[in-house]
């Protein structure tokens, strides 16, 4: 296989503590190696005057599966003026907030992202998720099946049967080729089956008579008993409601007393996603305000939690979540078209378009909260940049968020342009924050941090020898004076991107479809005849498909990267 050497760039690599020193990165057989290990035939990539980082890792985005595709199909308007025709190495690609699978792969790659996680996979639709993943070029992908409203989980945890929960998780991860335990509005989405919701962690789930508190703690316990690479990944109750930060803190506190147990170097037991939507104060939209400080104060001192931001990008976008009742609530607020799917025994999902307008006070405050979370984070290895794509904005806006985070001037300009800037400043902290994140901190928040939280720090998120050769060169010279716009421009279209040793982007253009892989976790547990019998029974009586037609066959995962865990004892 080809050898490469990327020379003279300013390297930012948190895994080795390299903070912008000039260094050469050598590549052989798809891995990073010591510079001495490549031959003289190695192809040289000149990165002098440029920034070099590892490929970025997306920890939470809705990029493949039934609700994403419903979003595409029911919003033809989203494609307007976005199409790029096909080229020698790329298919035609279009869409803005919900791009086609091809565009999803290309756009991530152009920004220097080489791995992405689909954040909510309804198990019954896992085959669909994998079909889309298969059609998303370049980037490595995994998908989190949702567990927080699953009838098996509710029944086992009601009786505190952790071992059975583990066995079921292991079975479902394998059946769906899933990566992690995702929880969305625990209990609330099952309640939505009857048009109800759970808005605090102590609201009982109708019929099942279990609380979100019990679901979350039970799943953390099971996750750590299995020793999965990623922790429980949670979208909390009461998303998007004024005053919900107390519910957020209540949920985060559930992690107290748990310690991460795994062989992957992961330290957290709970990942709290799109925290922006969960850091709201006030009791109505009139006195809506930021509670980012209260939330981040807790996160900063609680070492076994990681978070991602869910930054609002001020765009017209398409919200979609397995939080069915929330989407119904949203359509009642904005009266835009509402799609919903309740999934038997497992979950639900809703979709509503949304316009984050810089002329609406609430949206301005949301914008501020997302950025505040990142700016208040004491440990950038535990706070990651996301937009909860496409919920708070499309992932293609990451370069703009990086600009806002790296430049107080850019933030000031944005605040001044708001219609209600004075009121917004009063309800938030953003105007008083002068912190500007460094490129090193950006590399922590977009590379090393998420890779570590996913239990993938040995292969992604860094440039140490032995890691996958996912490397990005940005046309950005950190030693030269620059305008905030230069940051956005550089991060929007990387000068050079390599995915496991294959050049995929050169000067912002796609040159290859790479060698995409699908990540999934195979967790081995002791034989558990009871759980197997329960599964058979549920399929016979309640599912609308037979058990034999439920598993995702290898045909849908043509290039798997299986991470094995042995939880037998």
């Amino acid at each position: 296989m080809a050898e490469y050497i990327i020379k003279n760039g300013f390297v930012f690599d948190p895994t080795q503590g390299i903070k912008g020193d000039k260094a050469d990165i050598a590549v052989k057989d798809g891995k990073i190696v010591k510079s001495t290990e490549v031959s003289s035939k190695a192809k040289t990539i000149d990165a002098s005057g440029k920034t070099v980082m590892a490929g970025a890792v997306e920890i939470h985005a809705h990029i493949a599966g039934p609700k994403v595709n419903e979003g595409r199909n029911y919003r033809p308007e989203d494609k307007l003026f976005t199409y790029r025709p096909k080229s020698a190495s790329s298919r035609m690609a279009g869409g803005f907030s919900i791009p086609t699978t091809f565009k999803t792969g290309y756009e991530y790659a152009r920004m220097g992202y080489t791995t992405a996680m689909e954040a909510a996979m309804p198990p019954l639709y896992a085959r669909h998720v994998h079909e889309e993943i298969k059609d998303t070029p370049i980037i490595d992908e995994g998908a989190y099946p949702v567990f927080g409203n699953n009838w098996f989980v509710l029944e086992y945890l009601k009786n505190k049967e952790i071992e059975n929960t583990c066995a079921y998780i292991s079975w479902l991860l394998e059946a769906t080729k899933g990566y992690a335990v995702k929880v969305v509005n625990p209990g609330g989405t099952e309640a939505w089956g009857w048009g109800l919701n759970c808005l605090t962690i102590d609201d009982p789930v109708p019929y099942f008579d279990i609380t979100p508190r019990e679901i979350v703690t039970g799943l953390i316990e099971a996750n750590e008993a299995l020793g999965l690479p990623h922790s429980v990944h949670i979208h909390q109750n009461s998303l998007g409601n004024p005053g919900n930060y107390t519910v957020t803190l209540d949920t985060l506190k559930l992690a107290e007393g748990f310690k991460a147990k795994n062989k992957f170097g992961r330290e957290q037991v709970l990942h709290s996603t799109h925290l922006q939507f969960h850091s709201y104060g006030g009791d109505s939209w009139a006195n809506f305000e930021s509670k980012s400080k209260e939330v981040m104060d807790y996160v900063n001192k609680q070492k076994n939690i990681t978070v991602d931001t869910g930054c609002v990008t001020l765009d017209e976008t398409t919200t979609m979540t397995a939080d069915g009742p929330f989407e119904h609530h949203l359509t009642e607020l904005n009266h835009l078209k509402w799609a919903n799917v309740d999934v038997e025994l497992e979950t639900a999902a809703g979709i509503v378009p949304y316009i984050y307008s810089p002329d609406i006070k609430v949206c301005e405050i949301q914008w501020a909260i997302g950025l505040e979370l990142a700016l208040m984070a004491k440990d950038p290895m535990r706070c990651f940049i996301t937009t909860d794509h496409p919920n708070a904005g499309p992932f293609t806006r990451y370069p703009r968020i990086i600009k806002w985070l790296m430049s107080a001037e850019a933030r000031k300009k944005q605040i001044e342009s708001f219609k209600h800037s004075a009121k917004m400043v009063e309800a938030t902290h953003i105007a008083g924050i002068d912190r500007e994140l460094s490129l090193y901190e950006i590399a922590q928040m977009t590379r090393a941090g998420p890779a570590k939280a996913l239990g993938l720090s040995r292969q992604y998120g860094g440039l140490a020898p032995g890691m996958d050769a996912d490397i990005v060169v940005y046309d950005f010279n950190p030693e030269k004076p620059h305008k905030p716009e230069d940051i956005e421009k550089a991060f929007s279209a990387a000068a050079y991107v390599m995915k496991t040793g294959v050049p995929v982007v050169i000067n912002g253009e796609i040159v290859s479809n790479g060698n995409k892989r699908t990540l999934w976790v195979k967790a081995k547990v002791n034989e558990n005849p009871q759980v197997m019998r329960d599964i058979r029974d549920k399929f016979l009586r309640y599912y609308s498909v037979t058990q034999a037609n439920y598993d995702v066959s290898s045909h849908f995962v043509p290039n798997p990267h299986v991470i094995e865990v042995d939880a037998t004892h």
Partner: protein, 438 residues
């Protein structure tokens, strides 16, 4: 000694039953019996065995007779036709696998074709309505486990989706519906006294083409606003009673079919039906679902969706995807004479399109890829027989509620007969050669 293949998926209608059992001869070549399937589904399997089945491509001669040609010649004709056409139509895709659709789309992108599926004369109006107002829906298992109010509007599952009621909607005993149909109230809205209407608790014999009015009347009744004495031929009291039945349920569902999607008002009917569903969610839990016809028309919409962003009538002729039903839909294109070649796979427009469109297909260079002899194969220049998806080759399919199920292979195809994917892949490769020279 025969063997049995279980959990077989039925490649007929959008109900996509996955519990069939097929008895196959020991050598794996012959289907001997089928259990659990409806009459139509069983026939689909048995038809694969028909002795008169066409097993090699056939080229129509000027005198109307057929000449057998090889698959190589068929690939060459198809590739040349698509290569030379300025704006070919690639229609069908509803009775084949997602894998085949995917290869078809790659070809369409190369040659600048229009890709359209059978939704264009079926539930396309539903898809347009969903683009207008969204759609609150659920999976069929939710109906089985929770629903106690079942509405069939302009559809007749007794005949079109024969196992729908027993598997999902009326009779099954689910988790919260352990008394089966005793737990449920069934409303049928249909101008005819269909077999489905006969088993309903309430039959609303709406005047033909007046569905929009009746939907509106239900919405009015939900709000307790005044109604005229009769609407669409239904007395006020019955409408109010119906609204009460819907409201008083714990979980309701509206299933609708061609009776509303292709009658007067088309997509506006569905707009209104969806808004009725949304209104009902103020009182209880309600969903709505289209009774999709072909077993994988839903899949075609899905694959088009993730690859191009639109569910049907996708025009790739300008080098990027456009969608404008009425302009980019098959019948409009055909009747305006805008396409100069027609490729049909997995559908039978010859039987279902208006005669004005069918005549155009007959005049144009045309290829029909279909295991059967159909009206379309009879008017096409080239007929390419292929293996039956779901019988002789597997592949992914999407049920009417968008749940993906992987169809199984039960027996081998007749010797030498290609599958859809194989044929399309060869056409695609040939096109690469032709375009390489361009």
């Amino acid at each position: 000694m025969s063997k049995s293949v279980t959990d077989v998926i039925c490649p007929f209608c959008g109900t996509l039953c996955d519990d069939l059992e097929v008895i196959v001869s020991d050598d794996g070549k012959k289907i001997e019996d089928i259990y659990n399937a409806c009459a139509i589904g069983a026939e689909k399997f048995m038809h694969a065995q028909a002795p008169e089945r066409v097993k090699r491509p056939r080229m129509q001669q000027p005198d109307g007779t057929y000449k057998e040609v090889s698959y190589d010649e068929a690939v060459e004709y198809t590739a040349q036709m698509l290569f030379n056409a300025r704006k070919p139509l690639m229609y069908g895709w509803s009775s084949t696998s997602c894998e085949a659709q995917s290869v078809g789309h790659e070809i369409a992108e190369k040659v600048g074709a229009i890709v359209d599926n059978t939704a264009t004369v079926c539930h396309g109006t539903t898809l347009i309505a969903v683009q207008d107002v969204g759609i609150p829906s659920c999976t069929l298992g939710e109906i089985k486990n929770r629903a106690d109010r079942i509405i069939f509007w302009g559809c007749n599952p007794c005949h079109a989706h024969p196992r729908h009621q027993s598997r999902y909607s009326v009779f099954p005993r689910g988790f919260f519906t352990n008394k089966g149909h005793m737990n449920r109230k069934v409303i049928v809205v249909d101008p005819r006294v269909t077999d489905t209407a006969k088993l309903a608790d309430y039959h609303y014999q709406v005047e033909q083409g007046r569905d929009y009015e009746l939907l509106s009347a239900f919405r009015v009744a939900l709000r307790n606003e005044p109604l005229p004495e009769t609407v669409a031929g239904i007395p006020r009291e019955k409408i109010i009673e119906g609204a009460e039945v819907m409201k008083s349920g714990r979980f309701g569902i509206i299933f609708f079919g061609m009776g509303v999607t292709q009658s007067l008002s088309k997509n506006h009917n569905i707009d209104n039906a969806i808004m009725l569903t949304k209104d009902l969610n103020e009182f209880t839990k309600f969903s709505i679902m289209a009774m999709r016809g072909h077993y994988n028309v839903t899949g075609s919409g899905q694959v088009l969706g993730w690859q191009f962003g639109y569910p049907f009538s996708v025009d790739l002729s300008r080098g990027f995807a456009r969608y404008n039903p009425g302009e980019t839909s098959s019948n409009d294109l055909l009747r305006r004479g805008e396409v100069d070649a027609v490729f049909v796979l997995g559908s039978d427009p010859g039987a279902h399109f208006p005669i004005s469109s069918v005549k155009k297909i007959a005049e144009l260079p045309s290829v029909c890829v279909d295991p059967h002899i159909t009206p379309t194969s009879e008017i096409s220049k080239l007929h390419v027989p292929v293996a039956f998806v779901g019988v002789e080759v597997g592949g992914n399919c999407y049920r009417m509620d968008n749940v993906p199920i992987e169809a199984r292979k039960v027996v081998d195809p007749p010797e030498g007969v290609l599958t859809d994917v194989e044929f399309l892949t060869r056409v695609n490769a040939r096109l690469d050669q032709l375009m390489g020279g361009k």
